[in-house]
Symmetry: D2
Subunit: 355 residues, 4 copies
């Protein structure tokens, strides 16, 4: 029940607090003989790290990864891969003044209620910083998936009420919000700037597409592919909801509209529509897997907010620090990582069960 | 990785096909000395069984539960509780004619792609009938939760575009769609009837509320309470999405609106709003847990639909049988059961970790 | 933590008490398309069942297996396989008179201490009868292993102080004690008869050999092949110890004697000796896996024994019933089953990790 | 299936190779508010580290532990505790010359057969050095167990054929072999010296006693206390066998001798004898848990040995390095650690299941 691990055959375990010496991750169950170097990992970490653009927090963390074990002569050995990311830009004193106060929207109160002992410095274990470990581990999973021609892409579909109207994947990494639509991206950035000026933050929607997932991946009954993906993605702190294919729109549809009809495309079974989002009965049907997650507006805002102290006294809190006005662009690589970590487990299991 | 089990400390394992001799469930990890009789289970099964009203399928299954083990002199012994539900009204021949065809929206194709061997009779293992086992097991979890004053209620929030406008829990079991609003219920029933006449089906939204969940329940980092609930609920075949608190609406909110401010209510920490849906950082904060799931329109409809055979030939399929025009009312007890099975695991773990 | 399950990818869950309506097992994670009929299972169950010879208990249980799910048209479907074995010859009243007494050597007291509620009829859940479920499930594992040319054989190496001097596997099933030496078998049988006449029981040693295990099976660090086998075999109630290769004799050896030197046998890496019992660093090296388990004398004996009641009063207990004077011959198929269930998990995992 | 983790509720994950930068362990599932400082850990590590006496290897490793996470203001926070132990005295070049040779008795060949990629420096992941991580983690488990008045002590019962004749626990830490008998210890030390002079090594037996284990700990059916202990201890590389209570001697006993008769000692249920070693039906009965493990003679010996290369060529290998002539004294703290890690899981689960 130890809960800092994710996955079964390919399993990660993360540790570390935002203001301790380091955070890190152990990746166990990696097949041997996979070429892997630190720069593979660093590339993805750089997509998540703070300070990468004006729409993200201005904290300076290089998030430099150090591989401690599991690699020999440039390849995985089958042993667990330990990776460390040192914490650098820790201004713990930023937090000292409200060490007894519960920041609204954060896990301060619930950790205190649960453990009666709390590392108050920047959220400690509850900090979004933990997701860097997911990204590091996810890179390894992605690499194996790519060898099997399974590709994952995530992007910011909406910021506030501004939606991407196009889905041009080639521009995602070319704009600060990681939207697949440059025009919409500009409007989104303007909205984020506006929120920042108001000492506020803004939510959004991140969408992800998995291309190349072979039919048959996923397991009945409880480890349905969508169930495991929902579990994986809802474990990201900022996520408030998840939907697959048409998602909540299914509620207002009739079966005759919603059922995806089958046809043959050469030798391949296809469906005309993809309302199911690529998954039937918890098992991939070979169509693109499509899902969306609702990202809440970041809880850290530079405004005065009403709250209480752990002694039950009313208080006003003003979290100065350096915050993300919209975390969607930084959530994108985390979403990809969690999808990759979910799929790799199913892929390995799938191989196990072939006769 | 065996995937027909759910839970860790309190763990269920289900088995059986819709057209085999029986379905069943083993519940392991039940504390000893809990009073339990078959009628406790039967009560909940009757809420899920087919044929209970005109808005559900007219199949006749009494879904009578038989407890095989784990109870002695009316109380649990700590041994696994095995429960069998015999299949009665199996018209396997209803299915023989399309044994080689893939029903749109169903898992026929994906099971075939995965296993290359398929019990085609009524979905076999993929049948919604498996959820009766969840309800049976969930009853035991609910009973223990009630002893801890944790109460779960689910209801149909919407059928198609008709939403309940009131939340009067006392009427939920008094209308055929299990809506908390009798007036809306009537409109919903009319909509379902309409769909049935059109040989079609209709989706909806089921909402659930957990009252009395103690602050501190849930685990960082991966087994967040919302992550495990999402996993539990997305494993129900008909669910297309899940959201907590304000859910997808969070995308368009600002942090200053979305953050739930704390205050003291006597000795109890409360929040003025409950946008987070009772969970912060994956841990219950003591407010009601509120979640919604999108229920797709049932895939079985009595219309002609285009499809293909397993040999890749085009075909027209017409699934006669007796279908649910809207499965929301039958999903309600399943949602409750899956929430109960999730919470019980956290509750037992919570006790384990107290010093 | 539910503890009535064994295995990870290929996972069994057992249930049922010796004096309830039935015992049974769910086998999850069985690859699809394996031919399987009830007679496959029955064959192995018959090797374990009571009443098969004069050296076993005279209880009459046919141990007839009924497959409830997971098989369609003679083949596995990938769905969980549920098997039921009805209890027939239950003389519950044999046990009523000492329902408040703790039988020495049995789990009566510890179950009562743990659960404060106890099905006293014949050991309830703690009965050796549960091992029939292991044998049923193990048959499926064995069948898959045989397809991979992995063969498991177990036999009675010693009864009391009588040891088999030859290892002629062809005679194992041809004598009542399942010894690989007909001459020794006769002496063993005489010893068992002697014990029975004295209203007593006798211990022994069961040895097992796995032939054909491919080099590479097993996992560092914690799931070493020998560690998982020890776990599997020590979970059989009557086992008091386990050793691999030279086992406890290693304590008195020097490294120069104990190290198995390598040589090439054609293309195959071999060792001149097999002191390690076929496992190095927790991983099979391709030599035969050899292990021995110490079997305690059955605790049920038809003598008067001093004990106490659950109220703490001194008492004399005389367990009449029909007992096994030596359980070695019936432990043999259980040992084989547990080895098979352990190996299958490693075999499936091994396939998962191949690139 | 990732296999570098041990435990369920209280779960450790280890990583690192003997000749990489560091080894380490993550301990997840530690209750909050336990006082813990590095010196607690260091104390136990010092009992295991090399170079502590003339009967152990002369390698110089201070095995200094660094706590990276999970502790705040001297107490556990409920977050995972990461501990690093830097590798210092790595003479990797000692190993370069036989990088293509398989050392007899070691896991060189099986790792190569399994992974086709091998860190040949000092055993890499298969090195006994990994057990330092177990000791570090075990210290935390021990600390919690002591709070519950559960005490674990292990000691060298035999070296070669020299057995301790007394069991004076007060002298265990006062002699180099950790025997509970100073006179026997001297003879043992002489025997070890003799083996060392012959460039050889010697096996032995380590015994452990758990005092204070409450009746009821342990779980039927598969997670029997003895089954989990056997799994835990057999995962230590040097162990060849394990037995509980009378162990293999049970084979030659009759039931009337072997059954431990119950009596009342005041309010406490006791048995006159303890042949079962404190466990009945997989559950502690309150008597001392007694077990013994067979420790093989260390495989690294400074003699010329026949072997083969990975290309299948015959070769002579002479492993110079600095070796342990008898590893029993260093196995002692590892045995204690693995017992502690096993018991803590059962203890936490036990609390979970109390009503």
């Amino acid at each position: 029940m130890a809960s800092n691990s994710f996955g079964k055959i390919f399993r990660i375990t993360t540790f570390g607090e935002s203001h301790g010496p380091a955070i890190g991750v152990i990746v166990d169950g990696v097949p041997a003989n996979l070429a892997l170097v630190e720069s593979d990992i660093q590339f993805e970490l750089d997509r998540r790290r703070p300070g990468q653009s004006k729409v993200t927090t201005q904290r300076k963390e290089t998030d430099t990864v150090e591989i401690i074990s599991g690699i020999f002569e440039g390849k995985t050995t089958g042993a667990p891969i330990a990776m460390l990311i040192r914490n650098e830009d820790q201004r713990s004193k930023d937090y000292a003044e409200f060490k007894d106060l519960f920041r609204p929207g954060h896990a301060d109160y619930t950790y205190w209620a649960k453990y009666d002992k709390r590392d108050y410095r920047g959220g400690g274990r509850a900090s979004g910083r933990e997701t860097a470990c997911r990204v590091a581990a996810g890179t390894i999973a992605k690499k194996i998936l790519r060898e099997h021609k399974i590709y994952i892409v995530a992007y910011t579909l909406a910021v506030g009420e501004i939606y991407a109207k196009k889905k041009d994947f080639s521009v995602i990494e070319k704009n600060m919000v990681r939207a697949p639509d440059l025009e919409a991206a500009e409007q989104m950035i303007a909205k984020v700037e506006e929120a920042r000026k108001d000492c506020d933050s803004l939510g959004g929607i991140v969408e992800a597409v998995v291309h190349g997932c072979p039919p048959g991946l996923g397991e009945p009954i409880y480890d349905k592919l969508n169930a495991r993906l929902a579990y994986a993605l809802m474990s990201i702190g900022a996520i408030r909801g998840i939907e697959f294919g048409v998602g909540f729109k299914a509620a207002a549809m009739r079966g005759s509209q919603h059922n995806d009809k089958f046809y043959m495309d050469g030798n391949r079974v296809r469906t005309y529509t993809n309302n199911a989002g690529g998954i039937l009965g918890g098992i991939a049907n070979g169509e693109d897997i499509i899902l969306r997650v609702a990202v809440k507006p970041a809880s850290s805002i530079a405004q005065k907010q009403e709250t209480i102290s752990k002694d039950g006294l009313s208080a006003i809190i003003e979290v100065k620090g350096r915050h993300d006005p919209c975390i969607c662009p930084r959530v994108v690589p985390v979403v990809e990582a969690m999808i990759a970590l979910t799929l790799i487990d199913f892929l390995l299991l799938h191989k196990a069960m072939q006769r």
